[in-house]
């Protein structure tokens, strides 16, 4: 509720919103907290702001970045078989493809499971930090949030965690395994990310960014 409602006499100068799904035009709604605005044609949720959502998302993003650092640095899985031991970190999983033709795949895996999720988190923190404090957005906030949105499908940390589970079953018969702290950090990271993406109302954030930057 940053901007006081558009007065009716603003007429056809009032900002319009097109449903991102079916393109139906709506007057840009002023949605109170904990209410939902839906498209009148296809029912797509246009806006669903929640109380204190921004500070919650910011807190979750900060949590995730700390977890991400822990997940990369600590040992991930310990494997023992026949007196031999191999301790693997996320970094090792990334470097698994680092021979010959598969180097690009190594880079891609690093991007998908560590770098892109991290970039998204930083962009979201950068966008929301001033907004939560009621200040004007940072100059590059729109680009940062746009980037975070575009990278969303490419951030695959949660898929990696399920991949780990599958891999564990595959080697379970071969050797004895123990999970390191990094594994649990990654699991927590996934849960926090899901929570964060669900409590974020994109429309509200875009609307809050629609002000002069500092």
């Amino acid at each position: 509720m940053e901007q006081p409602g558009q007065s009716p006499e603003a007429g056809d100068r009032a900002p319009m919103l097109a449903c991102p799904v079916c393109d139906t035009l709506h007057a840009e709604p002023e949605v109170p907290d904990n209410h939902v605005a839906q498209c009148r044609r296809c029912g797509h949720v246009l806006a669903a702001p929640r109380e204190n959502a921004m500070i919650r998302v910011l807190a979750l993003a900060l949590t995730s970045s700390i977890l991400m650092i822990a997940a990369v640095l600590f040992p991930f899985i310990d494997l023992q078989a026949g007196g031999l031991q191999n301790r693997t970190s996320v970094l090792d999983a990334v470097l698994a493809f680092s021979t010959g033709l598969m180097i690009p795949l190594s880079v891609a895996v690093a991007l998908l499971i560590v770098l892109i999720p991290l970039a998204r988190l930083l962009a979201i923190i950068y966008t929301l930090w001033p907004l939560v404090r009621g200040a004007a957005p940072y100059p590059l906030a729109r680009q940062a949030f746009g980037l975070a949105e575009r990278l969303r499908p490419w951030s695959m940390a949660e898929i990696f965690v399920v991949g780990v589970a599958v891999a564990l079953v595959k080697v379970a018969g071969l050797a004895s395994l123990s999970l390191g702290p990094a594994f649990w950090a990654f699991v927590a990271l996934v849960l926090v990310t899901v929570l964060q993406d669900n409590s974020m109302c994109r429309y509200t954030i875009w609307k809050s960014l629609d002000r002069p930057t500092r």
Partner: protein, 210 residues
């Protein structure tokens, strides 16, 4: 055409001669180049954008072939070396009695990719020819494809983890096979195909007759 705030007839931004921002949804006059809220470039949608969809889809299907032909994993133990393809890996898991995981692998690396090829192709064709499915269910299909497509990448991650983990010298070593690269490419290409498909086209085609 009038654009009043509270008309009861629902019109689209396109009918009103406006361009909607793909990123934040704000509608603009047709001659505006970039969204004045989020800064995204505005572009009118047209059927030509389908070329991009077909191109990515075709690329995805082509690289999916070597992904299935070549080995995904090479396992070396004291006694022998074995190579397994995607299908082979799933069957092996099934033989070991790990039905749940075998199902995950089978669904993620075979059913989902092929289902995606079919779904994207169907959606693109259905724009020109009225199909059986309503706009609503076709849009639902699109959302499912967008949501689920990324999960195919799981097989690549499994290979990465296994190859990093199982490096026990002479006892057992697992190395990635070249199929991992083409499989990852196939997943990425189909994701790009889904992203370059503009779901609003589904609703345009649906509305045209009226």
């Amino acid at each position: 055409m009038e654009i009043a705030g509270q008309t009861d007839a629902l019109i689209t931004a396109r009918k009103a001669g406006m361009l909607a921002c793909d990123r934040c949804g704000r509608a603009h006059a047709a001659d505006v180049a970039a969204c004045n809220r989020c800064g995204a470039r505005l572009h009118a949608r047209d059927m030509a954008s389908l070329q991009g969809v077909w191109a990515w889809l075709l690329a995805g299907i082509i690289v999916y072939i070597p992904a299935n032909v070549y080995p995904m994993l090479r396992t070396t133990t004291l006694l022998d070396t074995s190579e397994s393809t995607i299908v082979g890996g799933a069957i092996e898991l099934f033989d070991h009695g790990a039905y749940g995981v075998a199902t995950i692998v089978f669904v993620a690396s075979i059913l989902i990719p092929i289902g995606k090829f079919i779904a994207i192709g169907y959606l693109a064709i259905s724009l020109r020819r009225a199909g059986v499915l309503s706009a609503h269910s076709r849009h639902r299909l699109y959302e499912v494809v967008e949501f689920i497509g990324r999960w195919s990448m799981i097989d690549v991650f499994v290979v990465a983890i296994l190859s990093a983990l199982v490096q026990l010298g002479a006892v057992a070593t697992i190395n990635p096979g070249i199929a991992a690269v083409s499989f990852a490419l196939s997943v990425a290409f189909t994701m790009l195909a889904a992203q370059s498909f503009d779901p609003k086209l589904i609703w345009d085609a649906d509305r045209e007759p009226t």
